[in-house]
Symmetry: C2
Subunit: 274 residues, 2 copies
């Protein structure tokens, strides 16, 4: 759609002996500081053999012949694979190299330097807890079941379409937290007490709110031009919900300016202080 060529992108490679999630996280935390540049990102996960490492060096060296110098980030831990990767002509930021010896010195212990699969199954008990939490979250999404509400670590309250579900899923999937979410329907919002199923569980509740403008926008997508989606109705529901949170001393989180990750961090910090 654009006239003329797009500005060239810097080729970026994330290299890993497992999923590459750490390499991407570390690399992107640095690249986000260069908003005026464009990057063409490539993930090369599961580099577990010397042969595969040699192939990767071929890919990186080929990229050196392009118009912009590429950049590679590596979290690979195994020494013989790292040695091969370091043969590339491409600039390589080796997260393992730079920090491992420093951490070893501080801890006074030599690290394994093995392909360690931070994002593998790992601790099977913790992993299974995360999977169970996802199942629980789906069963208790949108007040579908109050069967095992007592098992919830966290109950998210909010009027319809304020963004409870993604935060529920994030806390379950990443942190194994049992989260139920409970929609505040108009009848709930007329009351000053919490809805009966969550009344005795007040100390696990978090209230989500947003701006009327944002809520209208989201609801319009679902039911265009309905009373449900009107700015007036959205404003009313949010005012009542916020009053309900305040009078019941429930921590309140505004989803309009916060990501799922940020809301989850806030909730986890509350739980820790709890």
């Amino acid at each position: 759609m654009t006239i003329g060529a797009a500005p060239p992108s810097v080729p970026v490679y994330f290299l890993s002996d497992s999923t590459g999630i750490s390499a991407e996280t570390m690399g992107n935390a640095l690249l986000i500081q260069f908003p005026e540049l464009r990057f063409d990102r490539h993930l090369i996960p599961f580099i577990t053999t010397v042969e595969e490492a040699r192939r990767v060096v071929g890919v990186l060296d080929a990229a050196m012949d392009g118009p912009l110098t590429p950049l590679a980030f590596s979290t690979t831990a195994v020494t013989e694979i790292r040695d091969v990767l370091h043969q590339t002509r491409c600039p390589l930021i080796d997260f393992f190299d730079l920090h491992m010896s420093r951490v070893e010195t501080i801890l006074g212990v030599r690290g394994q330097r093995a392909a360690a699969q931070l994002h593998g199954v790992g601790d099977i008990k913790a992993y299974n807890a995360r999977m169970a939490a996802v199942e629980y979250a789906i069963e208790h999404d949108d007040g579908q079941s109050s069967r095992a509400l007592k098992k919830a670590d966290v109950i998210l309250l909010a009027p319809s379409r304020c963004g409870k579900t993604p935060t529920t899923m994030y806390l379950a999937l990443q942190h194994g937290v049992f989260v139920a979410n409970y929609p505040l329907v108009p009848e709930d919002l007329e009351a000053t007490e919490l809805p009966r199923p969550v009344r005795a569980l007040r100390n696990r509740c978090f209230g989500i709110t947003t701006t009327p403008a944002r809520l209208t926008q989201v609801r319009q997508e679902r039911r265009p031009n309905s009373r449900y989606a009107s700015l007036e109705q959205c404003g009313y529901e949010l005012r009542r919900a916020e009053a309900l949170y305040r009078s019941n001393r429930i921590p309140m989180i505004n989803s309009s300016a916060k990501s799922v990750e940020e809301m989850s961090t806030v909730i986890l910090q509350f739980l820790k202080q709890g």
Copy 2:
């Protein structure tokens, strides 16, 4: 429950100006190399003011008086806050410090050094796509709806309880991929053709399998001592499912030894090659 005291844990602090997800990822990728040590992990997110940074230095310095030397990992980007954090006596691995100048040299551009919120809302379009993908995943979980199956980027097939749902949620939440999952019921497994709703969508399908022992175990939790949970039935269903994947040339992923993150990485790599 144990006699005698537990071995002491090394106090570890993850410091961040936003969620701390990057600091935890980076730190844990190193700590996992020391499986013989125990760590007592503390996240201190949202360090956005000099005053807060001073408070954190107090926490770290107090930890220096414990029996084991603590260790801190920081991804904080703002210079004046980093300067305060570096006043601590606690060993501090500053991911920003060590790599930023190297990346600046390679790119030939000075980085912003601003609190950059890699896990904030960021690119609102990409963020909304992730949220829409979560909604889609919930609507299409376990074959609940074939209404918009055509909108799926990925369709996960598997017999009941093979672990489709958490991978579905991960791909949606982390990568904004539209994933539907479709349970292969016994009637589907008797056929050689794919079930009718997904037949024309074969090139978006991935087949999940597991071991009979693992499937029995998971099904026993749901319906103990049922035919459904028997080793014989589980073995039969998995053999048939695998034959169905093979005869329809659907990529097959074994969930028994792979984490959700690893399965998702494999699927994303396939999509890229697509």
